[in-house]
Symmetry: C2
Subunit: 641 residues, 2 copies
């Protein structure tokens, strides 16, 4: 290495990328490194053995006294004058693996599509009359090696002359995909901010991330404001079809919803305005995708169920009234099919079945269930009309996963009395204990069905078993059988919370749809069981995997190989926000997955009817027999994990 | 060639491109060709000698009886079954040289950036669930060889599902640059429409062109509506600087102006709406460019006079309120420098000095004069502050080139009486004849100055010569000398129209600025005279080249090598509209031209003062001496050509 080379350049030549958001002009203080050997500055002696240039003013400002004492230097200021050994602390390393911590930990190499570049531009003179943009472009090439066609968003062009001059020609440029300048900010802006949003039919979840560090600094969610126009997707399609302004109203409401989430995120993170957000990744099902983009969704809901387009797409946020930085894009991940949307692609990005040898079954449980089966060789997907029961809708005392919802249930095999866990409360409530329960959400319903079956309160057909001797089973006001989960005095609503025969039937239909879908996909692949199961869903808490197995919602599998994760779609969206590679991977995996139209299979009706039963006698279910056996032994204890 | 190949495909294989806007499905009738040998269809005999497939129903519909009798077939329907000799009529050939007829004829190969593609798309089925876009993209590749990344403008994505299905999957796509679908129209739309606009400080001129044939089908012009905010560029810059909403007001007014021109063009051409326009090319000076794009122009008018950006740019029309097709772009040609704008690049595109060996001097006369000198080796440009006199402003009876403006003047060398030509009137008016004259425009002022000098009414310094014996020279009300061009009773304004000493001075300053600019550029190039001169300007009529020479507005040159053309900027804009190659050429030539800041040359003031004189004694002006001599011989005849 030549003497006089800065440590920053030297490290780069050796292939070690050190953080330098200011581009190496000594103003950001991010390129701190520690000298292990060859530095004697700290003794204040000009020694012959001193192998580095003297400490600069910028370093005295940018480093604390303690750091200077500990041999820290700024890599962009310290020049090599002999042999040195340096240590680059993790926070100064660029492009490191950063761990995304949510439901599960996921690793990603930070390489966002929008990056910030700080420049100190030489002002124009009569001798150098290059236009503002050319002097920026030339410097980008020189300092950052950014070559090729670079152009300006019109909003940046408009801001260019005034912003550069007011900032004394010290500006930060946010550049999209190495080719379009989408924002110009005065001075040094080290952190570009991005947001990932999962637009569910019911809930919108948003994550604000630092695009430099990968850190998620704020999370917010809200009810999808479209819900006033229809609970589920089909009713929203029908609203579009029956109201002239329907599509515009739905599109506007989602844009407003997103804008208010952005405001909330920015406030939580202490940023000044959503205009600081330079990138936005969106995922959601196909109908949410279409409506948000102003595309009539009616044909998605009608045979042959095809979307307008599937490829991952970048559109200017301003064209949809999304109020982030004026020049920024929104990126929609690709779709798979009419009923398997960008949210499922995000799930695949997070779970990566296409990178595994193990054959994975991924079940995303919602009003519409999406199932993927396969591994690196082949991937198949389908969608199942589960209905809203698994989300707590169309259940007598069903409710969304909100405060007061019963999210877990365990039934004592002897007394047949339930214990419940309620959202917002840390401890379980025993039978007869006063609780703030006001209804039951999806994960609770799945639990209670599984527990009633395990304890014999219902039989394998789902019918109440009068021989079970369960005091809480009774005839309801409508003369139909029901199980009392909480008596009126133990609830927040002053009414008995019951599980009716109808509720059980609704759950049976839903789980049968999922089960059949999985079975067809396995057959397409050419196997009879998965190596691994992942249960995905934006439930209040994670679904209890044992209950799901007991119900026969998924095929038999070693219980240790079954995982329930939270909102994997949100995780996948964040991965796509933080990594260009992941965005490319999304396109590839979306193409790889083959959509299977299971409902048109000739034996679908028969299989579906069969699969509504609880599966304790079906020899296929090794794992369930095991669970049931264990459960019989653990009499009196709670059986949910 | 294989038997069964259509003539369309066969011709394509042989490198002959035949028109087929419908993509060869027999519906547009544009691929008519004539069979010279090998066709016996017309006799209605199935002969062994018949070397073409039988006449189809589409051909019976698409061709007239006469055409069928004359051996015409549709190339897309007629298949080869043996040897044939065909003739492709000019109107069926694609990519032919088309002549653009304006001031001068210019040839261009039609290859617009937006082209139309007609498709008959197979509808989706449960067996083929490709999304709408994929089935279009696949067909584009298959039928038109359009490969690579193609994507959708969001407005097209939004229209896609409904438009395709309502049109029975027969649609025309307008594709920008082979990669972005910017419009989808039901059925076959053979002609894409484009507009070229030259935004002058004073006048906006617009041309509506058929992008398939290259034909200009309508022209319109209007006063630049910004004029209420300031007559010239500097006063508009000052309006921006002194009014908070100034920039927005100026930008809006130009957008409104453009929109009203578009409406007028569309009406004239009989189109239904400006939304049929799929492409728009804009040229104009740097300040017009900046204001239209919402860029603060103040730094363009202030040393060191640099623009925000110079490269040729594509922006979505909608971002500026320009109401053409929602997905379409506006393309601004590149700028050269702060005071040499996209209009000058357009002039270069039209005049092509960069393709000549001859050293050309191009003088674009306006409030700001732009001069280019050079040839294929080197090109230099500069801008000269001519002031508005050459456009008729700041002249006592000056007016714009509009109805009633005196546009030509000839003075009898004996009687010193003028003859005038007035805009809107075909014939010249003699002195003392009643005319609708209400003032004098730029070309008229140049004429009258040259004629007064030629006839000795003024001397070489521009002063009135009392010895000339001109009865129309008198002292005005202000006691200053003036020449009466029309007496009150011969005008439409009831006032004497005079040319004052002040008017002559203003013209002298303007022409001196142009002359000096040209001289400096010649010196930069290393020569003392041009091989050729082109006078450009949006005058009412073309400037009289002899008058310009006599005045000393341009350097000496063989008069046969001097041309006055009209709005070459408008021509250049149209060329860029019709040809991708010309658009690329614009970028290259804009980079090639080196801007010279003449006003900062040390001897500028001295040269400028010298050049204000009329040049009859300066030995450099061979051509002028010749003109003056001729003029003396032709006593009594009009001397303007």
């Amino acid at each position: 290495m030549d003497a006089g080379t800065t440590l920053l350049d030297a490290a780069r030549e050796l292939g070690v990328e050190i953080e330098s958001p200011c581009g190496g002009v000594g103003v950001c203080g991010k390129c701190k490194i520690r000298i292990e050997e060859g530095n004697f500055q700290k003794f204040g002696i000009e020694s012959k053995m001193d192998n580095l240039s003297p400490l600069t003013e910028e370093e005295k400002e940018g480093l604390g006294e303690e750091e200077i004492d500990n041999n820290y230097r700024l890599a962009c200021r310290a020049a090599i004058e002999g042999d040195v050994l340096i240590f680059v602390p993790a926070e100064s390393r660029l492009g490191e693996q950063v761990i995304l911590q949510t439901g599960r930990k996921r690793e990603v190499s930070i390489d966002p599509i929008v990056k910030n570049y700080y420049l100190e531009v030489p002002p124009a003179t009569l001798q150098d009359q290059r236009d503002d943009f050319s002097r920026i472009r030339d410097l980008l090439a020189q300092k950052y090696g950014l070559e090729g066609d670079i152009f300006l968003d019109y909003s940046v062009a408009a801001a260019l002359p005034v912003t550069t001059r007011r900032a004394g020609w010290k500006v930060t440029l946010s550049i999209w995909n190495g080719k379009e300048i989408i924002k110009i900010s005065p001075g040094l802006v080290g952190n570009p901010w991005g947001v990932a949003i999962d637009i569910g039919s019911t809930t919108i979840a948003a994550y604000l991330c630092n695009l430099r560090t990968g850190e998620t600094v704020a999370k917010k969610s809200m009810m999808n404001p479209q819900i006033v126009y229809g609970e589920d997707i089909l009713s929203r399609i029908s609203y579009v079809m029956t109201n002239e302004e329907g599509l515009a109203r739905l599109s506007d409401s989602i844009a407003e919803g997103i804008n208010s989430l952005l405001e909330a995120l920015v406030e939580e993170a202490g940023l000044t305005s959503p205009e600081e957000i330079v990138d936005l990744v969106l995922v959601g099902n196909t109908v949410m995708h279409h409506i948000m983009l102003g595309i009539d969704p009616r044909y998605v809901g009608r045979s042959p169920f095809v979307p307008a387009f599937k490829y991952g797409a970048d559109f200017k946020a301003r064209d949809f009234g999304i109020k982030i930085n004026a020049g920024s894009y929104v990126h929609w991940l690709p779709l798979e099919a009419g009923f398997v949307g960008a949210d499922n692609v995000a799930v695949l990005l997070a779970e990566e079945p296409h990178r595994q040898d193990e054959k994975m079954l991924i079940v995303d449980i919602g009003t519409n269930g999406e199932i993927v089966f396969g591994n690196r060789d082949k991937l198949f997907s389908t969608s199942c009309a589960t209905g809203p029961a698994l989300e707590g809708a169309q259940i007598k005392f069903g409710m969304r996963a909100a405060l007061g919802a019963i999210e877990r249930v365990a039934i004592d095999p002897k007394t047949k009395d339930p214990r419940i866990k309620v959202i917002g409360e840390e401890n379980w409530f025993d039978a007869g204990e006063r609780s703030p329960a006001s209804g039951i959400c999806g994960s609770g319903i799945i639990d209670v069905c599984a527990e009633m079956f395990k304890t014999g309160i219902i039989d394998k057909t789902g019918r109440f078993n009068r021989q079970a001797g369960a005091p809480r089973v009774r005839r309801g006001a409508d003369e139909k059988m029901e199980y009392v989960l909480c008596y009126a005095e133990d609830t927040a609503i002053g009414k008995d919370i019951t599980i009716t025969q109808g509720d059980i039937r609704a759950i049976q239909l839903a789980k049968s749809a999922l089960y059949c879908g999985a079975e067809y996909l396995q057959e397409k692949f050419g196997v009879t069981k998965p190596d691994r199961i992942v249960l995905v869903g934006a439930f209040g808490s994670y679904i209890n995997k044992e209950s799901a197995m007991v119900m026969g919602m998924v095929p038999d599998c070693n219980l240790e190989k079954v995982q329930a994760v939270g909102n994997a779609a949100g995780d996948g969206a964040r991965l796509a926000l933080l990594s260009r590679k992941k965005r490319e991977e999304a396109g590839e995996v979306a193409k790889k997955v083959k959509f299977v139209e299971t409902a048109s299979e000739p034996d679908f009706q028969i299989r579906f009817a069969e699969a509504t039963a609880f599966p304790h006698r079906r020899h296929k279910f090794q794992s369930i027999r095991h669970i049931l056996k264990q459960s019989a032994h653990r009499s009196g204890s709670t059986s949910s994990g």
